[in-house]
């Protein structure tokens, strides 16, 4: 892992990290009230713009960047998107086109500017990403726009009729209950059957253990084995969630972590996580309090963003996104990106402050069964900034390309 340049913009990293830490709870909150910016979008496919992009825009994954600061701010998601373009056309401008069509047909009074905003709804902390900035668009203003209560937004266009008054359209996904939402209680106070509990019907707990990566890697400078796994148990809303990742090299454990969370569903595709992380392996162990969000962003990106606070003022963040690109029903390419950030140097564990390391993996797996899929792949890893310097001092690689082979298993 080779750092090209000593980071000169440490402070920027700090700010980024701070923004990220700030954004996580905000993002979490946004899930429960995701409507704020989009509640009147007639076909707001992405009802949680702030949310969905929050994790992404803040995701610095400067995988191939020579300067870490810049890409970090520049929505590396674009890179990911490019990767998946064929199957999941994520070209946002095209996306808006579709929205345009819908709007024009059904709701002439709609403000298109706001529609664009919805699509690209950049959270206030980030500049408009993606390079399709809409002139005259005020992203900052987005969260304030309450489309839900926007008067004159009747979209009840039935075929052959013009707008039918009294039919306000909400977003197709997410959103907040309109003021006139009905009650779903038709019980008139009558109690459920005393034997209600005989049927589980929705309350049965479930559990899963997913070893997403169990692999051997062969790099230019190091060989070894690594894993990435998660497991959960619980009901639809609340789960105990465990996560672990780590690697062994030269027969000894290099770097590993184990996390345990209370995972709570807070929106259709999103859950918050509150828990702890324990780092072990080479160097002293570290413990952290952890909180974050995970979920499924539009275009089927699995996203995880977790912030950590440790004793003595340590802070850290880990961001991860992955995707599945199907070549056949069983041959699946799984790109994955991960980046780690630290608020403070921890030389004993070879960590400098700022963006410490990132990895981009491409794993091509074959689902022999859904639960059992061997794979081969390539992973690019890179250490950045102070972390890279520390690595260099220890004669470790700063950049590496690794070939991997392993198996994905779940129960």
């Amino acid at each position: 892992m080779s750092m090209k340049r000593r980071i000169t913009t440490l402070s920027l990293h700090r700010r980024l990290l701070a923004a990220l830490l700030l954004a996580l709870p905000l993002a979490a909150a946004a899930q429960s009230v995701p409507a704020a910016s989009s509640s009147a979008a007639p076909v707001a496919m992405d009802a949680m713009p702030g949310m969905d992009r929050a994790g992404m825009h803040h995701t610095p994954m400067p995988v191939s960047a020579s300067s870490t600061a810049e890409p970090a701010a520049k929505a590396p998601v674009k890179k990911a998107k490019k990767l998946h373009a064929p199957a999941a056309p994520s070209a946002a401008p095209a996306g808006t086109q579709r929205m345009h069509h819908m709007d024009h047909g059904a709701m002439p009074p709609m403000d298109h500017g706001s529609m664009h905003g919805m699509d690209h709804g950049a959270p206030p902390a980030t500049p408009a990403a993606g390079g399709h900035a809409m002139p005259g668009m005020d992203h900052q203003a987005m969260p304030e726009m309450d489309h839900g209560s926007m008067p004159g937004m009747d979209h009840g266009a039935t075929p052959g009729t013009e707008a039918t008054p009294g039919m306000a359209m909400g977003p197709m996904q997410g959103g907040r209950a309109p003021a006139d939402a009905r009650s779903g209680d038709y019980s008139d106070g009558i109690a459920a059957s005393p034997a209600h509990g005989l049927h589980l019907h929705g309350s049965a707990p479930a559990g899963m253990l997913l070893i997403d990566q169990l692999e051997a890697f062969h790099g230019r400078d190091a060989n070894g084995q690594s894993w990435e796994a998660e497991g959960w148990y619980g009901n639809d809303n609340d789960k105990l969630w465990l996560r672990s990742e780590g690697e062994r090299s030269g027969g000894k454990l290099e770097d590993a972590s184990l996390e345990a969370f209370w995972n709570r569903n807070v929106a259709t595709f999103w859950s918050t996580q509150l828990g702890v992380r324990h780092d072990f392996g080479a160097g002293p162990t570290r413990n952290w309090a952890a909180f974050g969000v995970q979920g499924l962003a539009p275009y089927w990106f699995e996203v995880e963003a977790t912030a950590y606070v440790g004793p003595a003022g340590r802070t850290a963040a880990r961001l991860r996104a992955d995707y599945e690109l199907r070549f056949t029903q069983r041959l699946i390419l799984q790109p994955e990106a991960e980046v780690n950030l630290y608020g403070r140097a921890d030389p004993a564990r070879g960590i400098g402050s700022g963006v410490s390391d990132a990895a981009l993996g491409l794993r091509l797996r074959y689902d022999i069964r859904r639960e059992f899929a061997p794979y081969v792949g390539v992973v690019w890893t890179r250490r950045f900034g102070a972390t890279a310097s520390l690595a260099r001092a220890e004669h470790q690689a700063v950049f590496d390309r690794q070939w991997v082979a392993g198996v994905r298993i779940w129960f």
Binding site: R98, A106, M172, D185, A204, L296
Partner: protein, 591 residues
Amino acid sequence: MPPSKEVNVNPFSPLPAVDLSRRRFVQGLALGGAVAGLGLLRPSNVWALTSPGQPTVLSGTDFALDIAETAVNFTGALRPATTVNGSVPGPLLRMREGTTVNLRVTNRLRVPTSIHWHGIILPFRMDGVPGLSFDGIAPGESFLYRFQLRQSGTYWYHSHSGFQEQNALYGPLVVEPAGPERYPADRDYVVMLNDWTDEDPERIYAKLKKQSDYYNFAQPTVPDFFRDVRAKGLGQALAMRRMWNEMRMNPTDLSDVSGHTYTYLMNGTAPAGNWTGIFKPGEKIRLRFINGSSSTIFDVRIPGLKMTVIAADGQDVQPVPVDEFRISAAETYDVIVEPQEARAYTVFAQSIDRSGYARGTLAPRAGMEAEVPALDRRRWLDTQDMMGAMSHADHGGGHAAMPGMDHAGVDHGGMAPAPAVHHARSEYGPSVDMHVDMPRCNLDDPGIGLRDNGRRVLSYADLHTIGGPLDAREPGREIELHLTGNMERFMWSFDGIKYSDAKPIHFNTGERLRIVLVNDTMMNHPIHLHGMWSELENPHGQFQARKHTINVQPAQRISYAVTADAPGRWAYHCHLLYHMEAGMFREVVVA
């Protein structure tokens, strides 16, 4: 069960040529706890052991039904099934309208069980739903069901306990009219469709909870994309996918559980076994189709024969000649066919997701086969399956942007103005993945995969129950319920609230009310109200058809009238077993 006499109304139907590896029906069973060991019993040994295709028929007023675990083999592997009197399906019960029947059901399992008489109007204590009607039938115990038959037609029965229904605890039930049949026929066959799996259904459910698309092997792929680019151009290929991807919805999400694990059965016979019904050319044959599947919707046709639909859910309708019909889970359709030629005809029932089919043959003699059609091409869900009537509201650019989406088969002109939709407050949470603000209300859409396929396909708009509604009163009030789900997390509910968190729905005894269902999901949901008829209305609120199970298509609004004349606690649920188990279930209290 001495009082029940055995009559085989399905005339001779010998064992067809079998693919032994695929369809050997091995029968071992424990007749109650006393019989030790599993072994192959000679058929003569056993009171309800029959070959597939030759269902045992029990008729009369007194029936003894034993529920036990029986080893079956549909796939080459011996698997335990939960059976009634040792057969799959259970015996055909033939009763007569007006009589009072006694059914003694004995549980020879190690777990509680139950039988629900699907579509039969009866006192709620006899309805067979554990937790609502009664406590279920404990192991080793019997329960005596007793009720008077106030209807005739084709129905069925199945377990209402856990996943036993998936594990083959089902059978046909035919109530003969007190008077003459309205549509007399020369022959009368039950054609029961089922989805068998060698897997433990609880594991299927657990898998769906972990990965809801586990059984979907028809998902969009990269080569699909490039094929579309070649055929339609990049812009349209992107446009086809854009909305789905933005919404994180899967356009191929037609069945939760597919032919990947299912072997589709016709009268307990796998396709290779070829269940055969015998006829003589010129005869009128009544086929009583029952979809006893746990998670499969079938599209049925008999190439070369016109089918005249004469009853839906047991109720006679004005005859409708069709080429094909969709039968959702728990529905029944009776059709009459009149083959004139002395040749074989394939009875073809493909699953809605085109992942497999059940198949049988009508032939002048056993052993004949006709060509088995290829499965239809899979279709992606259409925009109207996602957005309802709104898909037609954007004629400007929407259609251009959605190439390859077929809107045919939908009568735009006849579409009634969409009434206002009222989402429940509880629909705005993690349990719901979409809201349809402008659902489609038309009944003349046969549904995804059947639109514009060149065949005359039945739709609900074709069904007109003879005699009109049972209760001419205008509904006095309206209860609106939304069918909701989160496919990604495999959560299913009414109004976003799953059964375990839900309060009952109260009907006032004697009232006539209207139920409005709005499907806020992209899947079909066959909704079954126990104990009372659901009198389906057309978009203008006029009586259409009397049913016990009403299939609500994606993004569709449907209404029906109910007369709350059956005091008690009743089940109300989606008849896709895994949706029900996930929480798409409510208790209805009539009081």
